[in-house]
Symmetry: C2
Subunit: 343 residues, 2 copies
């Protein structure tokens, strides 16, 4: 208890321990130049009084808040939640709290969030950008003093940043080849904006496999623009009601899949019977759909852990150079990928 | 640009504006006692120099960080993500940033998160507790100075807290009655721990409807313990492989539903044919399942907005009394609720 009745102050801690105020401060800030006996006396006094440091003030003195800021494009995507949860476990083990903010897939909000976290003095930033070409957010991240980790994005101008990337290309190539082996020549691809690296990688791989099989670029079958369910639903309806509809469809994201399945239900088209279907990233919906849906999968928890490790690496050694980790994708075959239906 | 070449300081802002340091500080802190012309001169100087206030320092001076802390039990539950996203939109409109932390459904972590956010001086806390009876976290929340909003939890000792509750009872009564009208007498219920308010409310309503229909308490058919998919999967397998299996099942949460459906697939049992099935809260999985699954639904975005409004109410008027908002549930009928199958 405080002698004055209110919350105990750092002065009371010093008085009880019989040491100078500056010594208490050195102990609280983990200063190396503190004897073991000094540390013990101060800690005894802190415990006896129930003193609690003001972390905001402590962070200000040290220039550190022992906090890592996490910006996610869309919290409602279960993928991000898994990434954040895995990263949080890794960072928590190293004594860092995680504060999360979401930009709701608006590039301007990315900038605002990055600025807010920078001004709140987080020690590191882990970022999944909505639009990696948005100049405002790149400028904002460049001004950040601590380590920056980009998730699945590439910003060549940001020499300050480590990255965790996914090899989306290899998975997409396998998926496209698998569909061609089943006889499909009219394959549709729906994915996010080309300004986001995963979409650009997917489209390139998709087109490469067409080229290597001597097939024309199916311009009318590739839809890029957004990772939201509504875009998946609208694109699927357009594609399947066109004069020459596709016989197979690849959804470039689990949120897009939700929209694709809504459209199929509305049109009375059954995946795995009337249409071959592949999605990206395994979620309960792809696993438990009837029939189960073939997916381009990756270890999403390892993705989150890798992001955390890259941040910790440079937090513990500020001279460490930023680096890049690339994680693989694989194709999980299920019953939704059928041969071309014969009408 | 700063005259000294580095980041501009508040002193440089004062010098350029030709005013005292304390005047700049008053402008930055929105002090009412500042003339319009003074405000304009300081803002001109801030813009010209590109000065950025240190929010950590500003928060410390004012005792406010213009930030609301959000503790969620499990970010991987898409429901929480929707709640947080809706609340964030509401709070952002009022000039508050939101920082989110997740306790990963561990009651001890709830306590740690609440403490961390309190020591970081967030202005308000919105909290979805894992276990509303855990003494450590209640103590921690009681020590928090600002408004606390509890989501779907009741802590009578916490006189400081507003609450947004869901009327889980009414939805559960409708669901149970609907199944009984279809002829079911052996109905199973799987839900979270009784220490969490939604589970306790569901079990009570479920038993009340049994009583009002002169049916015995089906002790062997009620499983409480966790909202995780694994608990749903294990409980379903046990229930359906027992000597007298149920003919209908209610899953008390969307994460539990994932586990229930995994178990059904493993056992070769089809919901909507071999078993009547109802879930709680509508998600893509319940909507897009074959057949679509009947759900006890609620307006989850309104739930998030209501939580934000309760926090804002007391942030703008610290004398306002805490209050409680209760939101309704409804039953959305779909094809998964069939009559008792005749074997």
């Amino acid at each position: 208890m405080s002698e004055a009745g209110g919350r105990p102050t750092i002065k009371e801690v010093a008085r009880r321990a019989g040491v100078a105020l500056s010594s208490v401060s050195r102990v609280l800030n983990d200063h190396p130049d503190v004897s073991e006996s000094m540390r013990a006396r101060v800690h005894e006094s802190i415990t006896a009084l129930g003193y609690e440091p003001n972390l905001l003030a402590a962070g200000l003195r040290r220039g550190s808040s022992r906090t890592v800021g996490f910006i996610v494009a869309d919290l409602r995507n279960p993928l991000y939640a898994s990434i954040v949860t895995a990263a949080q476990r890794e960072l928590g083990g190293a004594g860092y709290a995680v504060v999360i903010t979401s930009s709701n897939s608006e590039a301007e909000r990315d900038e605002e969030m990055a600025r807010g976290l920078r001004l709140r003095q987080v020690d590191a930033l882990i970022v999944s950008l909505t639009d990696e070409t948005h100049p405002g957010v790149i400028e904002e991240l460049a001004r950040f003093d601590g380590p920056v980790v980009l998730l699945d994005r590439q910003v060549p101008d940001l020499r300050n940043a480590s990255t965790v990337e996914t090899d989306h290309g290899t998975g997409m190539k396998r998926a496209t080849r698998h569909l061609m082996e089943l006889g499909h020549e009219r394959i549709a691809l729906i994915t996010g904006p080309l300004e986001a690296r995963p979409s650009a990688q997917r489209v390139k791989a998709f087109l490469d496999v067409h080229r290597e099989n001597g097939l024309e670029y199916p311009e009318d079958l590739v839809r890029t623009g957004s990772f939201e369910p509504g875009f998946g639903e609208g694109s699927t309806s357009e594609l399947l009601q066109a004069d020459r509809p596709p016989t197979a469809l690849i959804a470039g994201g689990n949120q897009l899949l939700t929209g694709v399945l809504r459209s199929l239900r509305g049109l009375g088209i059954e995946a795995g019977r009337d249409l071959a279907l592949i999605s990206c990233d395994d979620v309960p919906l792809s696993e438990l759909h009837t029939p189960p849906i073939t997916v381009i999968d990756r270890d999403i928890e390892e993705f989150g852990r890798a992001g955390a490790r890259l941040a910790l690496e440079r937090l513990s050694d500020p001279d460490a150079a930023p680096r890049k980790v690339v994680l693989p994708t694989s194709l999980v075959l299920r019953e939704s990928t059928v041969r071309v239906p014969s009408h």
